[in-house]
Symmetry: C2
Subunit: 351 residues, 2 copies
DNA sequence: TGTGCAAACTCAAACGATTGATCGAAAAGG
DNA sequence: CCTTTTCGATCAATCGTTTGAGTTTGCACA
């Protein structure tokens, strides 16, 4: 584009040579100003007093050379990485996919990059190792259990961090969903249909969400004046759900309805019902927590409670952005919780 | 350079003050050596000649102070971010979850961080914007269609990049799976059971995987001496699969077996079969590409072809690590492709 | 006694952006 | 006409590592 007048600091963009990284200095030379001016223009520094035409020259040079600030240099100087971390147990679990989506969107809105890691890589420990000194400005921990030793390590860390959808007795840094309300909604639906023997296929004993959903189940049952039914714990997996459901069905006085703590368990539970020769919802009604696309394609389509998972991710990132490292968070997110009635629930047989 | 036994450079770790970032200089002071020595020790620089006891001192100081190299400074100096990017269309698609797992593991093995982004954030364009100048050392593009304008932009970029499971006419940078073979395996299974009217519920027209699976279907059919059956294209979604399956069933001479290009479509297709009052595998056999946990919990459990998706991710990362920016890759990954026979396939009715 | 040569370190210049301090010139005030 | 402001920019130190090029010390050899 230009050839005369200038000093030769300009990189060989037009030529055929190897790509030269364009730096502030190149832009400054092209615009005939100091690097400082370019920096302030690029960053919209309000303390800058500049003539409109000069600003134009700078902007034009930035565009002409295709300048992109070097992230490493910027991070070094400002001590901020413009990156948040999100740790999840497993990418294959669609529940986390929702959370990621929300978190990603919120991060993008702040011009932050979200780096999501799972236990598959190298576990939380390895993940934190990689994200060593200064690579991230904050960390979100979704749903993982255990790893308690690392929590202390986190506390010593200099970055703010928050647990998503999980509380821990010792730490005051979490955002959770209103699992209790979700459970009540589900159970009230079943009771409203006329069910009196409502069992609970609960989550694993260690999980905080399992506790809260179970509490909601108990509250709803007693609020309805019904005795608490059978409660069996299971992993949040199809296999776990299948085993637990088999156990429920084997009881002397089997339930006519089951509130399942997680949709993945429900998939296995449905299989167990089929295997027992029973039909949903004819002999057993079923409702599960977490709505997925998939739910409407199961046989029969599964009634679920939709939780604001994306909102959870969004909120987590927003908090990371605004929180002081010391500050604690204890928040029950009050996003919309909604019962999605499909065809796995019906009045009990014989009414 | 030093004054007493301690210059006061040491950070106040033990105290109660705010956390001080530990730098090379602190470690150097503590170990009474130059920063350069610490750097070389930490990085295992083979060109370093050092007395064992000195090395010990350095290592001890590193441990005592809890030194972690600052990533930004290192990146700035070395011009490598030790980070790879992976772009996927959607986290909710479990197929990508598999790819991510493999890629993550491979990255961790190289001490790299993998940052995975989806179109949900801000699209590929926004993603590349965020990963501006120097933030990543290489980019993996999984499965996305379109966005062709950005491909050129990528080509001008200074980082190596590779498309996963997708070819593009113009670029010679991809690793794909042997979809043709997968398709043949599936169709041969159906033909082997005695089916003669085998239809293909194909992928979307734009998708490269759809093309290859379709080619495999054609080859297998003609190899078996059978006329090609109906072929209907559909999105890789349950909704798309349902619609396409309905179309197949509405034909004058409906198939006795269907080879479905993707497991997500198959889930919808199964629903469509049920809706038509037919039974799998009694009246219709079905086999789909990609094995998921879920497949064994569908009703009936779905016969699938398992593809080495994790291997695809792993290979992609490995290539990024070893490839020169200019070098091209055109690779058909020959990982294990396996037919998982479940209960959605059976000999045709009446044999 | 000097010379050569390793061994074991130290020096200091980058890398690219940010930002408080500074500075010259023009405008305003007296 | 001289001083004080304000405008519009420039200067230069700094962030923490890396790394090629020294420098010092000790020892062997002639």
């Amino acid at each position: 584009m230009r050839s005369g007048t200038d000093g030769g600091v300009k990189p060989g963009v037009g030529g055929g040579g190897k790509p030269v990284r364009v730096t502030l200095a190149h832009v400054a030379a092209e615009a005939r100003v100091d690097r400082a001016v370019v920096s302030r223009v690029v960053n919209n520094d309000p303390s800058l007093n500049i003539r409109p035409e000069t600003r134009e020259r700078v902007l034009a040079a930035v565009a002409a050379l295709g300048y992109r600030p070097n992230v490493a240099a910027r991070s070094l100087r400002t001590a901020r990485a413009h990156m948040f971390g999100l740790f999840i147990p497993d990418f294959a679990n669609p529940v986390y996919a929702e959370i990621i989506k929300g978190a990603e969107a919120a991060a993008a809105a702040l011009s932050y990059v979200l780096v999501t890691g799972s236990a598959a890589g190298a576990g939380l420990g390895g993940y934190m190792d990689l994200l060593g000194q200064g690579r991230i400005d904050g960390l979100l921990l979704a749903g993982a259990e255990g790893e308690s030793g690392l929590i202390e390590q986190l506390d010593r860390a200099t970055v703010p961090w928050i647990m998503l959808n999980r509380r821990s007795p010792s730490v005051k840094r979490y955002v959770v969903l209103d699992d209790e309300r979700a459970a009540r909604l589900a159970v009230e639906h079943l009771v409203g249909l006329g069910h009196r023997r409502v069992a609970h296929l609960a989550g694993p004993d260690g999980a905080d969400t399992a506790l809260r959903r179970r509490a909601g189940y108990s509250m709803a049952m007693s609020a309805a004046g019904l005795p608490e039914g059978q409660v069996v714990a299971a992993d949040y997996t199809p296999a776990g759900g299948a085993a637990a459901m088999a156990e429920l069905l084997a009881a002397p006085d089997p339930p006519t309805a089951v509130f399942v703590a997680n949709v993945a368990s429900a998939i296995g539970a449905m299989e167990a019902v089929r295997a027992a020769g029973l039909e949903i919802p004819r002999q057993i009604s079923m409702v599960a927590v977490h709505d997925l696309d998939l739910a409407s394609y199961l046989a029969p389509p599964l009634t679920t409670v939709r939780m604001p998972l994306a909102e959870l991710g969004r909120r987590g990132v927003a908090l990371l952005g605004s929180l002081k490292p010391e500050e604690s968070v204890e928040e029950v997110l009050d996003g919309p919780i909604e019962l999605i009635v499909r065809r796995s629930t019906a009045p009990p047989h014989g009414t």
